[in-house]
């Protein structure tokens, strides 16, 4: 489904990703872990099409198509969803109106009939209940004045509503208390499906106690230095990134 080959990315003069390879198939949950500044968020944002980053080398194929040639909204319409690390506030724009515009844009791209206000409302109310998000949120401006936890939950709610095929979660667990973390994790687990892939970008192992990944990748200094199963996350927690790096250096010398 998603194939990243030798991806090099820079922001300004600074090279952030230095040759990332990653293959993700439908039905899989991948976790990308790494220390601060390793390039995790950059990878997520490049997949979503953020224009502040420049791809200097490599390619990204999504369903065999060249992802890097697609505008961010095309990617979204093709089923890529990124849960933002810092969801953006849009004052004046009602959440319901925003979601309706998003949902109908995506439906239109998929040759589905656009939903009218009543159908939309019915769908939204159904999804919002599943996530335990307050319905009042729909009447507020997008993310405006939301607490950190509300913002993150709102991202998961949007993800549930838009039903993407590839979910990229950019440090969704950061800044969440344990209760919120559980709600978010439940939301993600509910999204697991044989037709869908999920990439969980995270700093800590704790989210992975609730969302058990199929694969874990360790990103250090712009490269994936180690990949493994769910146990790799536990190993990381125990040894720290420094420990893994140490191990790798030792391995390289031997």
């Amino acid at each position: 489904m998603l194939e990243i080959k030798n991806l090099h990315v820079r922001a300004g003069n600074h090279e952030i990703l230095k040759g990332v390879d990653l293959k993700v198939d439908v039905g899989e949950v991948h976790s990308i872990m790494g220390p601060n500044g390793s390039g995790k968020s950059t990878l997520a944002q490049v997949l979503a099409g953020r224009e502040t980053y420049e791809v200097t080398e490599g390619e990204v194929l999504y369903d065999g198509k060249n992802l890097l040639e697609m505008a961010p909204e095309e990617r979204a319409c093709e089923g890529i969803f990124m849960a933002f690390q810092y969801p953006v506030e849009i004052p004046g724009v009602g959440s319901a109106q925003f979601l309706k515009a998003a949902l109908n844009a995506i439906r239109k791209a998929r040759d589905l009939e656009e939903l009218d206000a009543m159908e939309f409302l019915a769908l939204v109310k159904e999804k919002i209940k599943l996530l335990g998000v307050d319905e009042k949120l729909l009447h507020r401006s997008v993310n405006e004045g939301f607490s950190g936890g509300e913002k993150k939950r709102n991202e998961i709610f949007q993800m549930a509503l838009l039903e993407p095929r590839l979910c990229v979660m950019d440090e969704t667990d950061s800044g969440l208390d344990i209760d919120a973390l559980k709600i978010v994790a439940k939301g993600v687990n509910d999204m697991r499906s044989p037709e869908r892939a999920i990439i969980v970008v995270t700093h800590y192992q704790r989210l992975l106690n609730y969302v058990i990944p199929d694969y874990v990748h360790v990103l250090v200094d712009g490269r994936i230095v180690k990949s493994g199963g769910k146990d790799l996350a536990l190993e990381l927690e125990e040894k720290g990134y420094a420990g893994i790096e140490e191990e790798l250096r030792a391995g390289a010398k031997a």
């Binding site: 953020r50 990124m82 004052p91 109106q97 515009a101 949902l103 995506i106």
Partner: protein
């Protein structure tokens, strides 16, 4: 992948879609302004003697005063002798739409204002002003049954001279300001509206103004009188053809609301703004004022100003009657080299008078947008209240937003609130929308529309739709 700033720029630099010139024979006065021209205008309109005298008094006063310079707009000196002060389509006095020049009807159709359809579908009575003379009036019969007078100003001067004489200049005297004085001397036509006691006007009254003749200043005069207990909602909308030369426009609107009467006055102004480099475009110097004369009277101004090279306009309320209410809701958009200096004046005179000001300024390109507001609470205005909210939205980094709120309070019981904000459409907001499948253009529309919704909410439905079209905005409030 395009860069978001470029996209925003291309969005705001869309061409004026309604630029064209209609070929209709015009009866045009030679350029220049003198007493003979004024006499000619008055004679063409077959005006009573007192009206000519009033025009001449205004003209003589105008000669003694200077153009104001306090505003925050810049333009080359206007040659008032280079302007032609009268232009009229040759065919006049039409009984029905069939008699209207088909070319003119096509013009309106291009503007999206098919009169026939409007008659049938929208229930809007249209008094269409093409340049200076009204050529088509609809729904007159129905209104007449209720005693409502809705006609061109010229017709009112003939048919209802007592009303015109009583109220003309009673809100905006001919000595008011340079542009209003000029208008008083040379106004050619406009609309007149009279709602009798206790009558609720059953339809929105609407006038589409249009400047068409080359080098012709447009000087409308509108007078609306609402007798005790009456209600009227009046819509004014305009577009103008593309043209290189600057066209001067100085209109005057006077509203009078008696006891318990309500006047809602809504404007969409979409005159040619000039090209990307600031060439051409309409100079729009307008004086609009309403008098809340009676107890519990209510005047509400709503404006969406997207056109003109220069907009100079302060629809105001004089709150004289006790418990009277004045409102001003405004969206002003400037892009390219457009300049707007707009706002309102609320003068509280009566007891427990209330006013609300909601102003939304959007600046894009090199546009300069100024809010200028004056809230005056006089000694007599015990218990007066004002709420002002003044927000600016910037798109790009070459535009400007300016705010000049003047507040004068002479009664200690007054309550005043003033809120102001400035924001910018950020690339991160656009990207967030994009990531949810919303295109850049729709994202800008969504954000701009959200910014303006408090004002759009005040517009009558059909106008709201046009306003949204004008700002390229998708319909809001479809949920809930």
């Amino acid at each position: 992948m395009s860069d978001p700033t470029t996209t925003i720029e291309s969005f705001v630099s869309q061409d004026y879609k309604w630029g064209f010139v209609t070929e209709i024979e015009q009866d045009i006065a030679p350029p220049g302004l003198n007493e003979d021209i004024i006499r000619m205008i008055s004679a063409k309109k077959n005006e009573p003697e007192w009206l000519l005298e009033w025009r001449l008094k205004a003209y003589r006063y105008w000669l003694t005063i200077k153009e104001p310079t306090w505003h925050n707009v810049h333009y080359p000196p206007i040659n008032y002798q280079g302007v032609s002060y009268y232009a009229a389509p040759k065919k006049k006095e039409l009984q029905s739409l069939d008699e209207v020049d088909p070319e003119l009807l096509r013009t309106y159709e291009k503007l999206g204002i098919p009169l026939e359809e409007q008659k049938m579908l929208t229930g809007v009575a249209v008094d269409a002003v093409f340049d200076s003379v009204s050529v088509a009036t609809t729904f007159k019969g129905k209104l007449a049954e209720l005693g409502i007078i809705f006609c061109s100003f010229s017709e009112a001067a003939q048919e209802h001279p007592e009303l015109v004489r009583k109220y003309l200049g009673s809100v905006v005297p001919y000595t008011d300001n340079f542009f209003a004085t000029l208008n008083s001397a040379v106004f050619t036509d406009g609309s007149f509206c009279y709602i009798p006691k206790g009558v609720r006007c059953p339809m929105e009254l609407s006038t589409y103004f249009r400047i068409n003749a080359e080098s012709t200043g447009q000087f409308e005069r509108t007078l609306i009188i609402a007798e005790p207990g009456s209600y009227v909602s009046y819509l004014e909308g305009c577009t103008a053809p593309m043209r290189d030369e600057n066209q001067l426009h100085a209109a005057v609107v006077e509203l009078i609301a008696h006891d318990d009467a309500t006047i809602k006055y809504s404007t969409i102004q979409n005159w040619y703004p000039g090209d990307k480099n600031g060439k051409g475009g309409i100079y729009n110097f307008v004086t609009k004022r309403g008098k809340c004369l009676g107890r519990n009277s209510h005047i509400s101004w709503t404006q969406v100003e997207t056109g003109s090279a220069i907009t100079w306009k302060y629809p105001s309320c004089m709150l004289i009657g006790d418990n009277s209410v004045g409102e001003f809701y405004s969206v002003a958009l400037t892009n390219h080299r457009q300049q707007a200096d707009t706002g309102t004046k609320m003068t509280h005179i009566g007891k427990n008078t209330r006013s609300t000001i909601i102003s939304k300024g959007i600046s894009a390109g090199h546009g300069q947008n100024t809010y200028r507001g004056g809230v005056k609470i006089l000694k007599s205005a015990t218990g007066a209240r004002n709420y002002t909210q003044c927000d600016s939205l910037l798109i790009g980094d070459k535009c400007g937003a300016h705010t000049f709120p003047y507040i004068e309070v002479k009664n200690p019981t007054a309550k005043m609130e003033h809120e102001a904000s400035t924001s910018k459409i950020g690339d991160d907001q656009i990207f967030y929308c994009n990531q949810r499948g919303i295109s850049k253009e729709d994202a800008v529309n969504l954000i701009v529309n959200g910014f303006c919704k408090e004002v759009f909410r005040e517009l009558p439905m059909e106008f709201a739709v046009e306003a949204q079209k004008l700002l390229g905005v998708s319909l809001e409030g479809s949920v809930g």
